[in-house]
């Protein structure tokens, strides 16, 4: 008898905690749902409306388009010169990211695996770059580039992008390479490997996770950079995507459809990049942000 009462009590207790848990989870999901909606709806709103004609946009802003107007996209592509902007952005991004990561990895290798007099000083000097506010360098950068004859050329932006992203690149790679066991190079050297061979065949392959992180970080920074592009590039044929879009929107303020179509197209590469590499991006951002 007692046992039955007890087990009944237990199930009742279980039921009430289950119900409590259910209510709690519902509230949590509700909050997360609202958060996600606020986060993603502005973008979704813009993408959906990029398919509407001007007249439909005015009367039906929140629904799905009744007729999909692809003309907006053709207009935007032509007016904003998106083909050229994409080409410039990809060119600068790939070259700047490649050089930054390669030179950064090489420097990190010597800074992390060798002991020499200036080691600590050079490392600190590089890391100091994390504290330099980019905007404080815009004026002298413009004048420096003018003096070097590097204003408004296809490679102009590559130089500041490399210089300003070397600190975070070296920071992440050095701390990663430092963690390798001490004698890792020794046997290779014994086998007659040169110092650079060790770097290329042993250290670089071992650093793959950290390399992925810095490649992604550099790519996102370079792809989105605006200030240097604004100051150093004038020629519409040399503009990068953010700069070209800003000018396009500034000139065609009333053509909502084309504006939204242009923005939507510019979103595609970076959103695809993000969704494909989300895990690494998140890890990279965390490593970069927490430490930087």
């Amino acid at each position: 008898m007692e046992a039955i009462v007890k087990s009944e009590k237990d199930t009742r207790k279980k039921k009430s905690t289950n119900k409590k848990k259910w209510t709690k989870n519902t509230i949590i999901y509700l909050i997360l749902g609202i958060f996600s909606l606020v986060n993603v709806y502005p973008i979704v709103w813009m993408v959906i409306n990029s398919f509407k004609s001007e007249s439909e946009f005015i009367v039906n802003q929140f629904g799905f388009p009744k007729v999909f107007v692809l003309e907006n996209f053709i207009n935007a592509w032509e007016i904003a010169n998106l083909g050229v902007l994409f080409k410039n952005s990809i060119f600068i991004c790939v070259i700047a990211t490649g050089i930054t990561v390669f030179l950064g990895a090489l420097a990190s290798y010597f800074l992390s695996r060798f002991t020499f007099k200036m080691n600590k000083l050079i490392y600190t000097f590089f890391i100091f770059g994390l504290l330099i506010p980019i905007h404080a360098t815009l004026v002298p950068m413009f004048i420096l580039m003018r003096n070097l004859g590097l204003l408004d050329t296809p490679v102009t932006l590559i130089f500041p992008y490399i210089a300003f992203h070397l600190p975070i690149t070296i920071f992440i790679l050095t701390s990663f390479m430092k963690a390798f066991p001490k004698d890792i190079e020794e046997s290779a050297i014994m086998d007659g490997c040169g110092i650079f061979r060790v770097f290329w065949s042993i250290i670089l392959p071992m650093s793959r996770p950290a390399l992925a992180t810095v490649v992604i970080l550099n790519f996102i920074y370079n792809w989105n950079e605006f200030s240097f592009a604004l100051v150093l590039i004038n020629d519409p044929g040399l503009q990068t995507l953010p700069l070209g879009l800003a000018n396009f929107a500034g000139q065609f303020t009333t053509n909502y459809g084309a504006q939204m179509a242009g923005l939507t197209m510019s979103l595609i590469p970076i959103v695809v990049f993000y969704l494909l590499l989300e895990k690494e991006i998140v890890q990279g951002m965390t490593a970069g942000a927490v430490k930087g």
């Binding site: 949590i28 999901y29 909050i31 997360l32 996600s36 986060n39 973008i43 709103w45 946009f57 802003q61 929140f62 030179l103 420097a107 010597f110 695996r113 060798f114 020499f116 590089f126 890391i127 770059g129 994390l130 330099i132 506010p133 905007h135 404080a136 360098t137 004026v139 002298p140 950068m141 004048i143 420096l144 130089f159 210089a163 070397l166 070296i170 020794e186 110092i195 770097f199 792809w223 989105n224 605006f226 200030s227 604004l230 100051v231 953010p242 700069l243 879009l245 800003a246 929107a249 909502y256 504006q259 923005l263 990049f273 969704l275 991006i281 998140v282 951002m285 965390t286 942000a289 930087g292």
Partner: protein, 291 residues
């Protein structure tokens, strides 16, 4: 590694290219901005050395001080808006729930997008004629609340600040999530065994355990807010009537629109020291570690 003559040469070959580019395109400009700040110069004619006159002029300029004030608004809104919301959502996402990954993916998305795209999207949202915000207010019958969000000095700063908060919550969310995952499970289990409620566990154990990360996030948030430029440049260009102008934008306009290179450099130097000092003070106040 054992150093030989050969390895010394290798070190030089290995470090020099990075060091050269870094010095030429990052260190030289920052040093030059100190030098230019002491000059009167329009960028073309000869420079005239005028000592600290640019700074004297700067400190007497009401527009400059209003840009400092606006910059401080950005800092305050970011720290008070982004950090608590991000921490709260991170605590929710740190539970064993189904579908957590999707919320995380969506939460971080704005951080990856370019500031220019975000500014343009939000400009469309705030558009007084056909913007989403006014349309939404009209749809729910609150016509009286519609505003010219980006054209009215009363509202523009608020509109800009909301966009800024929106943009970077995801960054701190990810940082906090990473920190929360490092909190050992046993500690939380033990608290649960002792009968501590979830509130108590969160405030007495979880948050203190990630306190150093919270400090880093606050410092990042402050230094990031001081760099605000692209968003305001694209959304309002500091207007209307300078009501959203921040330091970097003031510097940009003085230099590249009015061609006061010396004076603009003085603003740059001010931004540099202002950032350093503010980061230093926050670090000391919160007893964190710099970098």
């Amino acid at each position: 590694m054992h150093l030989t003559k050969k390895s010394k040469v290798a070190i030089i070959i290995g470090i020099l290219p990075a060091l050269f580019l870094y010095i030429l395109f990052a260190i030289v400009p920052i040093i030059q901005s100190f030098y230019y700040s002491l000059m009167e110069w329009n960028g073309i004619s000869d420079m005239t050395f005028i000592g600290f006159d640019n700074f004297k002029k700067l400190f007497q300029e009401p527009l400059f001080w209003s840009s400092v004030k606006n910059n401080i608004y950005v800092v305050i809104a970011s720290v008070l808006g982004q950090i608590p919301i991000a921490l709260f959502i991170a605590l929710l996402l740190n539970r064993k729930l189904k579908g957590v990954r999707i919320f995380r993916t969506i939460g971080f998305l704005p951080v990856v997008l370019s500031t220019v795209v975000i500014s343009l999207t939000w400009s469309l949202i705030y558009n007084s004629k056909n913007g989403m915000l006014n349309e939404l207010l009209r749809t729910v019958g609150l016509d009286g609340l519609t505003q010219n969000w980006l054209g009215d000095t009363k509202w523009t700063m608020v509109a800009v600040l909301i966009t800024i908060i929106w943009q970077f919550i995801g960054l701190y969310l990810i940082i906090f999530l990473a920190a929360l995952q490092n909190v050992p499970e046993e500690v939380l289990e033990a608290a649960k065994m002792d009968g501590a409620s979830e509130w108590v566990t969160t405030f007495k154990i979880t948050i203190p355990m990630i306190w150093s990360t919270i400090i880093v996030a606050v410092i990042l948030c402050i230094s990031g807010s001081l760099k605000t430029f692209d968003l305001i440049y694209v959304m309002t260009n500091g207007g209307p009537a300078h009501s959203t102008e921040v330091m970097a934008l003031y510097m940009f306009n003085e230099t590249f629109s009015k061609l006061n290179y010396g004076y603009g450099s003085a603003v740059s130097v001010f931004i540099f020291f202002f950032s350093l000092i503010l980061i230093f003070i926050t670090t000391k106040l919160l007893k964190g570690k710099m970098i």
